[in-house]
Symmetry: C3
Subunit: 398 residues, 3 copies
């Protein structure tokens, strides 16, 4: 990609209506218009092209990005770190284990105390149903109020790095991967994507990825085929939303009870384990009352139940039934690979191996998607700013 | 605040005698002259104005700030991170749990080993009476010796982020809050400030805030009214110091045995819990010999004793007795709020709520106070340097 | 050191054949040619001179350095942080305890996932024989493959911050200390260096320092005198390598069974404890099968065995037998000092004290050695780049 290519991308960005992104958060993809989602894809590509051409899009001379990880994370943590670094922001982690937040501080107070110089706040909070998204909205409202009250000199932008409902930095990266794989966002219309449950020997995987995928891909006009064993449903609000999306986008949303049906003639498959909604709901209740025996029993019951569906595995045989036997296999990683990371898992080793490079590329978009979300919330005229970066032509290194 | 306003502040700074701050630490406010304290207030304001006007006071192209937190911290950690980032310094945390310091390394050796490229060292060490300040002086002497011996190419500046004796970044922020609230440092003369103990269900809160407050506010010519239940005294050295300060400043230092007396007609109230000096002293002894049973007994005894003083609460009724019933309520946060963070605590919820925004603003000065302490120790001609930053007019972001 | 001195050093660098360092890792000193080692010494000196003259060698506008510490570390962690900061890189730590790597992710996947924007990866992995170096090669091969496959836009440089075989950032710092102490690398030829075991009450110290020292100093033409009690041998591959090195360098490698013989007439002494090779081998086996009882027994047995050699201590009496009684005492720190950090240890307090400053200076080279390794792998024409930094004359701070 040369400079003229980057210029063209910047010009096409300036046609989008994205005023509402300015000084705004990114919490759920379905809060955003199609133009806004398109702008994230476009800016992510532009920033990637710039970095690959050794042009530095550092727009902060100094600045702080707060990270709050309420669950373990490697790839999202590094993606956030990479995105912030590219733009010139320094990360300061709020480690609640080490902080006084554990001693009963209110969310509002802490949100303000960490934000006197914060330009961005990234939060991962995906463990408890009903909690993560609520917490993010509370933090966002707190710092906005702090800004209005004159406590904060700026309104920090909140980026959802995974909540109980959506995982927008993941699914936007997934979508950007599809856009590049199929040669344009318009080519996704009508493409069959099988988002399916798959067996895993581990317990309690969050619902945000399948929810985020069906919530986003239906907006892109795709033919979303959603399959899971009976009882493994996700939040009904998101299933309903996926259906509604199709009316607008011309996409489809169909549910199946077997991988076989969902995979048939699919262009893309995304087989991935998750815990049933009712289990996650019960788990949240037990966690709130610290019922450790109850939690152990629930885990045991859920793992027993999982075992009934060991045949939900993405095998070569199933892959052969997809469109030309060549569907694009996707995973948000890490996958449970049969015979590699576990005895029996989500995917056969040969399938995973064949798609290893595409999966790594899928993951590689995340830092740029995050950087684009931040960039678009910080600049009222993002196209103009990107053009001036291109003209300024500061080297990232050398 | 426009550029002309900033220029005026810089000019007034250049009249102060502050040569001794250059290459020096900031350990205790009472080590500093009034001109030096005034310079910290002034530079903090200037740096805040600059950032709010999107002027970047980044004076380090690269550089390291070492942080050593021997106690949990959220707001001080973020304040230090913010201050360092604003000036261009990157924080490297010395986590003693993870480091070889736990294996018997001497302070001198570690202090030098972490300082080959360190411009600043920030330390919080407030748990043990007789330890924190001593440790800081040892670190400071070690790196100064290392500098003289040719081991270190620079002398790192040590900033006390809270010790057993003083909490200068807190109390200087408190004072700057008062200066702005009352419209100038000269307006603090004669103002009545009630620094009082308050009941809390928690145990072992450090003495450094009340000590730091009486040690600083008496120098500003305030009428300091210090109240605590019998037995809850602080270090007598600091009480004596507070008295001596008044001779110079024209302030007052009076002790009371009740909140009622201290609050009467007060312009400012600062009710806050702390552990009695003799308990902290005993605790230090028990900790040194790792007497866990003894520590548990001491905690129990102390909490029992606290309960006798549950009526030491900052209520609406007490607030009504202050000057026009409108004293400024202050707290270093987090506060124990009755019915919110605990059953019965330091302050009534309605009082706390009414003063929430002023308290947040009080806290917001800390990053700038820390940045000012660093700045003043790094520049021989701070006013000239600030003027050149103003003229350089580099954007912090955009 | 003035600018003309720096220019001269840069010019002498340009005579060295170092093309192979470009885009390459630094894993073992014996993988490198003498010109390459010489270039590291030279660039380390140049970077130090620049920093000391307030010239900023920041060559990255933004950029990420990943650190992976699989063992506790203070000085190496700070050295890596300092080096990266000096060049403009921000560190992101991969804390495996907190990350999903603990849940069975493959090395290849994680290596790629953390490297989308990584310019450098620094790894310390010195606990298990046969593991550390192997892991580093695996990470290096993974990211190189990722680069070839188009997953990564750059090939991150891997720096060995200590493995089971070598500790190149330590031994290169040690060598640079000797070069400066004796006034030039050519003056090291024929100098007697006693690398000896010494008694310590602690257990399981890695072999990488003695191995690294004998592997490097024999290449510099030194007369390496290697002494340890029977059974305390290191990897035979490295002992053999040390012997072979001497054929090329004109150096000597002689083994002894007593400190007395090794110290006799020595110009330099490096007495330091380590665990016997066979113990480390057994330990690795037991760790793999998580045999905690076996590990405890092994530790006890090893400590008992150590006690037989309590007389392996660097005393004043032994120091008196060195060349003019004035051998340079070295240690990688922290040392076990008799009567200070333990009852009986590696070195007498008076010896340690007399050489405290030289030891601190020895340690001070490490940040610059690491920065030089990174610099040389990132620039095809390092001399030209250094010259342009000198001419650019950007202040590091001020």
């Amino acid at each position: 990609m040369d400079r003229i290519g980057i210029q063209e991308k910047i010009r096409s960005l300036s046609t989008k209506k994205i005023q509402n992104m300015y000084l705004n958060d990114f919490l759920l993809t379905w809060d955003k218009t199609m133009d806004e989602l398109g702008a994230v894809f476009q800016v992510a590509e532009i920033l990637r092209d710039m970095r690959n051409n050794n042009i530095s899009p550092k727009v902060f001379d100094t600045g702080l990005a707060v990270s709050i990880f309420r669950d373990n994370s490697t790839r999202t943590r590094f993606s956030f770190a990479s995105a912030c670094n590219l733009l010139g922001l320094t990360i300061q982690d709020l480690d609640e284990g080490k902080s006084q937040i554990a001693h009963g501080e209110t969310v509002r107070e802490t949100a303000n105390m960490i934000s006197f110089m914060a330009d961005v706040i990234g939060i991962r909070d995906d463990m408890y149903l009903g909690a993560g998204h609520t917490y993010m909205k509370e933090v966002s409202a707190s710092v906005y109020q702090g800004y209005l009250e004159g406590v904060l000199p700026q309104r920090p932008t909140l980026i959802n790095l995974q909540c109980d409902i959506d995982h927008p930095t993941q699914t936007m990266s997934d979508a950007l991967h599809l856009i590049n794989h199929f040669g344009g966002i318009e080519n996704l219309k009508g493409k069959k994507i099988a988002m399916t449950w798959a067996y895993s020997p581990s317990y309690g995987k969050p619902l945000s990825v399948p929810q985020g995928v069906i919530g986003l891909m239906t907006r892109l006009g795709m033919d979303v085929r959603f399959a899971y064993p009976e009882g493994y449903n996700v939040m009904s609000e998101v299933e309903n939303l996926a259906e509604r999306n199709c009316h607008q986008s011309g996409g489809c949303f169909t549910k199946f009870n077997s991988m076989e049906e969902a995979f048939k003639d699919a262009d893309i498959v995304y087989p991935k384990s998750w815990a049933p909604y009712h289990v996650m709901e019960e788990r949240t209740k037990l966690l709130k009352v610290q019922d450790h025996d109850g939690l152990k029993k629930l885990e045991k019951k859920c793992l027993e139940s999982n075992k009934k569906f060991k045949n939900w595995e993405c095998t070569e045989k199933l892959m052969a039934t997809t469109n030309n036997g060549e569907a694009l296999y996707m995973h948000c990683l890490p996958a449970d690979i049969t015979g590699v990371s576990c005895e029996q898992g989500e995917v056969a080793a040969s399938v995973f191996d064949r798609y290893r490079v595409p999966q790594y590329i899928q993951a590689s978009y995340k830092p740029y998607v995050i950087a684009a979300m931040i960039f678009l919330s910080k600049f009222n005229q993002p196209a103009e700013r990107l053009m001036s970066i291109l003209e300024g032509n500061t080297s990232r290194w050398g």
